[in-house]
Amino acid sequence: MGRAVAVIGTGQTKHGRRDDLSYPDLVREAVKKVFEDAGITPKDVDGVVYGSMPSMMEGMAYNHFYFADALRVVGKPLLRTETCGSTGQSVAHTAIHWIASGMADVVLAVASEKEHEGDAQATMMTILEPFLMVTIGGAPVAFSLQSREWMGYYHIDDDKAREAASIVSVDSHDGGLKNPLAHIRVKLTKEDVSKAPIITYPVRLYDVCPTSDGACAVIFASEEKAKKICKKPAWVKGIGFRGEEYFIGDSNKAVWQSTIEASKEAYKEAGITNPLKELDVAEVYNPFSYQELMFLECLGLCPPGEAPDYVIKGTFSPGGELPCDPSGGVLCTNPIGAAGLIRVAEAALQVTGKAGEHQVEEAKLALSHAMGGAEQFNGITILGSEL
């Protein structure tokens, strides 16, 4: 994969409803933190990558122009990358490619969203063309269709899927309680989740992520620079990204090829043959609890059709074989463009022992993941404590 690359710093805003500051100030909050964390100055940075959802989420095309000052990009090269929900992973990959290729040594990657400034679901409606598919109502419809396709394909009993999805939601919200930066910080019971109002059946309120404002910044560096600058870098062990056809109905989404192939590529690069055994923690992109079940299978963390059994027996819960989303995941914090980069930042915190109260003990190898589009894209980044 070219030269070795490491994460040498991360910075996240307090996520939530951030009417208290303007969008550039929100971006600055994350950028200030990442420079403090990495212990370097903008002078040390060779280039900046930025990404968000379609900028119209906040009402302006090319919002990276608006953030030029907050991104400390004046006088430097800037790349914009966006792939819908997987934007954050794509932003990280752009920075990694930039350094791995030898064209840069230190790259600042930033992603953000300020969803309360517009109507997030309305922007989602502009992601698909408006003529050929009936109005798929933003994310909940697309991903509920997919979840039920998965349940049907493997003949998974409704009640069993419901129980497993409730566990995913409860575990994530418990994680959110331990993460001071998470948006939703609340104690839920399985019953709270399974009795909540229906959004897109079988998906209920607490099976769905919130709309959040937030930004995330990560500084990547080459091996030479990382070793010089950072006492404990998080090394990029492998990355993978795959896309699919435009029309949702053109392929089977229960056996989601883009997740399967993207993770296989990342595992191969990382030399991982048994991900459930070898990984210590996973930050799986989980805007919908039902969808996380499917991801656990497609990421090769359990056999196809058996995610509910593994979840019910606690494999992916705190203290289980492979804790998932100890940060609270997307279910607790969803500034969409940033959500995929937050997964990378959280994976870096875990393998460097800096995750605080939601630290998974002795985590050395972490998977981060995000998906995007109308069931169209998947990106994976695996980080480790050793080069």
Binding site: R17, A122, V134, G137, L205
Partner: protein
């Protein structure tokens, strides 16, 4: 804990009432952007929509892999070959997946609750995304029981046709 959340705009957004950021002491500025577009649909989709207006569902066949796709395509996504053979598809098919929509969102064309499904029309090699309906949708549990028994559906056409995807009103169970 449920009282911690306030449901606003019906079920559209979820917010925590006791959230601790400063009470609104700074201004927000209202700005709306409304932009009109005219999308070229080209010969393939023009013919597809003309077909709907006549009460027909057209797909096209790939001469290389033989797959029939609907809505009709100009080219095959896998083979990249032109898809020039037009096939009128049967108006019946099987349900691949579905979900009951019970929330409101911008640009919605139907009042919830309604069902969106993926329907594999007979002779097609992909699913068409459309509504499933024609029965009582007010009780989710009843809908779930009903949908367990539904495998085959048939197109119901709108009374007025405009040459768009909504010329098919929905697919009803058979």
């Amino acid at each position: 804990m449920a009282e911690k959340y306030k449901l606003i705009k019906d079920l559209v957004r979820m917010e925590i009432v006791d959230f601790t950021f400063p009470k609104k002491e700074y201004r927000t500025g209202r700005h709306d952007t409304v932009l009109p577009y005219n999308w070229a649909l080209g010969p393939t989709w023009t013919r597809f929509f003309d077909g709907l207006k006549e009460g027909k569902i057209f797909g096209t066949r790939c001469k290389k892999c033989n797959k029939v796709l609907v809505p009709a395509r100009t080219f095959c996504p896998s083979c990249y070959e032109d898809m020039e053979e037009w096939i009128e598809l049967p108006q019946e098919g099987s349900v691949e997946t579905w979900c009951l929509v019970n929330y409101k969102y911008y640009g919605q064309v139907k009042k919830p609750p309604y069902i969106i499904g993926q329907i594999r029309l007979d002779k097609a090699n992909c699913s068409l995304t459309h509504f499933i309906g024609g029965f009582d949708l007010s009780d989710p549990d009843k809908v779930r029981r009903k949908m367990k028994t539904v495998s085959r559906v048939k197109a119901v056409w709108s009374k007025e046709k405009h040459g768009d995807i909504y010329d098919i009103a929905y697919f009803k169970p058979i």
